[in-house]
Symmetry: C2
Subunit: 696 residues, 2 copies
């Protein structure tokens, strides 16, 4: 379908959301671990028992994909419960699914994904217009499953649900580090679980060209170190994605980010060759020659082949970060700019984009590109993917361009889930758009760039934080309660684990590697205590802080590669401190918990020291370990002083704050996350205020 | 090769072991995490750095299997280090492997598995007579890898190694619960890591016939619920096992344990049909009719087909636990016994065994059978697998029969590793055999029976305890230090995890299922604290203590199915108590640790209670949780009294011992393992002896 239809559908969706949901309704259901939260939920009383005789029936429109979805659903339900469930269907099924009609042969933007799910003590039913809705309903049912006092059960509930945005994507960069299909496939399973519907496959980069091309085999044979997907594998993968209700949008990044193409085809580049696959990270000079007709002839053939391989209506051409240096250095290209009245490299890239866009259109597809493709003269039916933000997005929308938001959803930057969660495609400048312009904003995509991500830790870099982004793109705009989000994020993490995602299991394994096979259980526990409260440095600081210039061959086996990007322990400690500081004289239990935690930190370095003597990977983080002990001691001193009226001199506070300020500085690329919370405890020490004085 | 050759090889092996090794040599190397311990180890100084440029060279005899072994080795080394290793070979390789000559086309009992491994700071080399030895050497090198202060390294070392026994097996019952090939394959990887060389595949049972038969397809179509291995899958699996240096011995259990055969072929049975696959556990009446010539005609065809499918020289015919009831109830069979002078059912089974043995011999194979096949009149070239023990084994050996030991190696009985480790095929009655008779004892096999084991928990039921049995069968007889064994078992557990075995990762997942998705981290931690100190009831008591009669459809999702069979926490607590009780006045740190552990236990039930209210799977174990709290309180009281001279009245001790005696009783099939250690603390309270009195 065309984008026009998508916009229309989106209008309906927003209307439905306003009609059916409110923040209050979300907060009335604290025990439902649904993520994304549905547009409307009404709870009833009692629940439906789930036991070994559980069965599913399909009525209405039938297709093999629905049968497979039921198989997948039953397998997951069996894993989550340990019940031996088999694929029974009967007229008196526990769960009855009615699907009205087929969805499109090739999944389109803006198809009807709505569903209704009703659970009562007597049974459950899902009703949906299309298989997409039925499949979403199955995922919601899985999330309802709870271990009750009497057995496994789903609570009585009536759900009406629709997505807020029609484009809810996850991008994975498989070029900087190659990611095998098996891992991508379980990430599709994860996307299905949280109702994301676009897998954006970043397939070419300076560091690797990952698709078999039968037309230009030198692209993958010389551009991939042998690490690429065959066309048969890609077809299988796309079929599996379709089974999960997910579109696959391929990206071939042009005219920059394309060194790997030039390894086999130097004639495409703007500078003299030869070229090799890039091993470092960053923005590099090589770029396609936009002035050479042979470039377009090549791309025409290439796009012809790839648009046959990838059935989705959208075709992503990249377009980001061309630094223009090869263009500037090439006299012929300078001449071309003059002769064609292209005043700068932006104009030259616009020329390239227009030519490429015509090729893509000729082969029946619509173009997606990063912000940079949105330059004067670009045709209107392009979709802008914004890594720059809502301002850029709304600027494009105000000029009639469709857009999706990725700024704020970069999973590799190490942000806490709450920060991603607070980013709304319709906030900031976008909030000031007219309703018609707002409808041009189709949704968003989280992005997993893989400079510091490989097969081993990728799941942990995506999940569970990605579920918070999925909720932002699916649920009503007023679903914003952060505490509720974290509670549900924890629960959904377990469901994702049963799907085979390794976002939890990878962690103790990597810590054991760091500790070495001869580490004792106590030493491992001490390493875990430290690891649980550090996070990798944030945003784009990792390369600058690296001990040596990182390359694609740099092992990702250090603590910075092992720890989760968001410390749950530190987050919970921070919450405890916040509560304590407000009501510290009445929070005996809270204080006891703080004290236990701070004591464990204070005493941890002594336990970790023997291991730091033996393992280079532990020794590297010895400073962070000492900092953690110091932090524990400061926190304990603050707690003690809080109980002694008048005991805290201002210079003590100043000293401690300065010391903890030092501790806040990153060391070996790690941040000691609880430092600010301990500073709050220090701040809470007040000469005129003590617990002993004010205690009843 | 023939068994005669095997015996000759064994003689050489024993000689070599006596020459090269002593317990002392094992104990001089406390930091080497080798398992099984090699026959001889000499350590040097320094070590070999392992980094991304690590390479391997193969010289001498070459074959594709060696190349694949190197690939597998490099993959595992890459996983264990996180280094990006590729398959580089060069003339200046880091690790040079020289293989003298080929091993047999079909792996035979008693082939030369010896190797020498030398590591120096300049490089490493493996020398072996055959690929089997080279592959063992690679595994030893992997176990040498350590995380040193300077990076990954292997210590300088000279190893000469040979197995003590030529038959070192693991049996897996895939009939009671079907186990998919993917899981069996990773268990082959685990066997290779600990140098086991026989996979005994228990393929048919009352509860399932698991092999595709093209000759008699009703066997698998009617006897397996669709859960069987195709012949192509089996050939692939056997090829993979050969790659790992492992023989595959198939077992088709006859004439009892065969109800699943009769589902499709009731004419083979001794009683009237029809038959269905058995769903319960135990010994059942159905048995093949040994008096019917058609039985032998069928078996001749069947054995012909299966001996073509399974290339190993040995063919296991089962033979265990025929209760004779169907035979007694069949007048025709009674008549046959009389007319053939078979005085009892033992004699009748001997008749059957002889007939079957002739069939197996005719098809070029040698028979293996359980103890029961060793009855008067059985031919000499049978191999007895003893589930009854060394007495039965030595009785067989004294009469000239070959044997392997499985009594003492039943992994499903829930014994601690130390108890398996103490079982030696050559101990007990076998120690009194003549040297010639001792040579008839070929080794042993651990056995994984699967009444209460499925795909989810099987790895944890086998590993790492199976590595202790592997060491018993490989290492010199005088390698018996239990503390060293446990230290190395812990380390090898990590290596096994990198191979993909799930013996650690399954556990938190199963606990999260028991807790339910809405459990808080604190509640999960409390569940873990309880789970870490309970073990399933031992030996054959599980069925008798079950809440309802268990069947093959009973979910294995309770705490008893989730917890490891040996509690590491309880074992270490027990060690701490033992040390403390001996020297309690001088063990301040030991006491602090005991106190911390006991306090955590005492306070745990309160933390777990909210979850017990919500989850039926937690509520089920509420009594054990209360017992753990009580146990903690008793232990703390004992510690307090130990410091008060004269404070402990005898009736206090009597009361506490009685209370803990109650706590030792199994509840919901769980044993609270630290109870005896807490009793030791109570016993240590003495009116005339206190720490305060005797402290310096």
């Amino acid at each position: 379908m065309s984008v026009g239809h998508g916009v229309q559908a989106l209008g309906l969706i927003c209307f439905a959301v306003l009609l059916c949901s409110s923040e209050a309704s979300a907060q009335e259901q604290p025990r439902l671990n649904l993520m994304p939260l549905p547009a409307s939920v009404q709870t009833g009383s009692g629940g439906l028992r789930i036991n070994s005789s559980f069965s599913v029936a399909l009525t209405g429109h039938s297709e093999a994909r629905l049968d497979r979805a039921v198989q997948r659903f039953l397998r997951q339900l069996a894993r989550e419960t340990g019940l031996p469930l088999s694929a029974k269907t009967s007229s008196k099924a526990t769960l009855a699914i009615h699907t009205d009609h087929a969805s499109k042969e090739i999944q389109e933007l803006g198809e009807d994904e709505s569903y209704a799910l009703e659970v009562s003590p007597d049974g459950a039913k899902i009703e949906a217009a299309t298989p997409l809705g039925s499949m979403h309903g199955l995922q919601t049912f899985l999330q309802l499953m709870e271990v009750s006092p009497d057995g496994f059960a789903a609570p009585a509930v009536k759900i009406q649900d629709k997505p807020r945005f029609p484009w809810r994507g996850l991008m994975i960069d498989v070029s900087r580090h190659f990611i095998p299909l098996e891992i991508l496939r379980r990430n599709l399973d994860g996307m299905e679980a949280v109702k994301m519907n676009v897998f954006h496959w970043h397939l070419s980069e300076n560091q690797g060209f990952r698709v078999e091309s039968k037309k230009f085999p030198k692209l993958h044979t010389m551009g991939s170190d042998g690490l690429y997907y065959t066309q048969d594998e890609i077809r299988d993968f796309i079929a599996y994605a379709r089974d999960c209700g997910i579109r696959v949008v391929p990206e071939f990044d042009m005219p920059g980010h394309s060194t790997a193409w030039f390894a086999g085809h130097p004639e495409l580049a703007s500078g003299p060759g030869p070229y090799e696959i890039e091993r470092k990270w960053g923005v590099f000079n090589p770029a396609m020659d936009p002035t050479n007709e042979k470039t377009y002839k090549f791309l025409d053939e290439f796009v012809r082949e790839m648009t046959k391989l990838f059935p989705d209506h959208y075709f992503h051409i990249g377009g980001d970060e061309v630094n223009g240096k090869q263009w500037d250095a090439n006299a012929k290209i300078q001449e071309f700019k003059k002769s064609h009245g292209l005043k700068d490299n932006e104009a030259l890239q616009a020329y390239f984009s227009q030519r490429l866009q015509k090729i893509v259109t000729k082969h029946g597809k619509a173009v997606v590109g990063w912000d940079e493709v949105f330059i004067p003269g670009v045709p209107k039916d392009i979709v802008i993917q914004s890594w720059r933000g809502q301002a850029a997005l709304s600027q494009a929308a105000s000029q009639g361009f469709h857009g999706i938001l990725s700024n704020g959803y970069y999973l590799d930057l190490g942000w806490p889930a709450a920060r991603h969660y607070a980013v709304d495609p319709m906030s900031g400048a976008a909030a000031n758009l007219t309703p018609e312009q707002q409808q041009l904003i189709l949704g968003g995509e989280s992005c997993m760039w893989t400079e510091y991500v490989n097969s081993e830790n990728i799941d942990s870099r995506i999940w569970p934080r990605n579920a918070a982004i999925a909720e932002r793109l699916w649920s009503p705009q007023n679903v914003t309660d952060v505490a509720s989000m974290y509670t549900r994020l924890h629960a959904i993490g377990t469901g994702l684990e049963w799907l085979g995602l390794t976002h939890r299991t990878y962690y103790p394994q990597m810590l054991r590697r760091i500790a070495g096979p001869s580490a004792s259980p106590e030493e491992l526990a001490a390493l875990r205590t430290l690891a649980d409260v550090v996070e990798p440095v944030k945003d784009y600081t990792r390369e600058a802080t690296a001990p040596a210039e990182p390359t694609s061959a740099t092992p990702l086996n250090r603590l910075v590669d092992a720890v989760p990007l968001e410390s749950e322990t530190a987050r919970r400690f921070g919450e405890l401190v916040d509560k304590f500081v407000v009501g510290f004289c009445h929070e005996a239990d809270g204080e006891a918990r703080l004290r236990a935690q701070l004591t464990a930190w204070r005493d941890n370095d002594a336990k970790l020291q023997p291991l730091a003597q033996r393992s280079f990977l532990v020794r590297e983080v010895a400073a962070s370990s000492q900092d953690l002990s110091a932090l524990g001691a400061v926190g304990l001193a603050a707690l003690d002083l809080i109980h002694k009226a008048g005991a805290a001199a201002d210079d003590w506070k100043t000293q401690q704050l300065a010391a903890t300020e030092q501790i806040k500085q990153p060391k070996t690329q790690l941040l000691l996350v609880p430092a600010p919370a301990v500073q709050k405890l220090v701040e809470a020490v007040s000469p005129g205020r003590s617990c002993s004085a004010s205690r009843p």
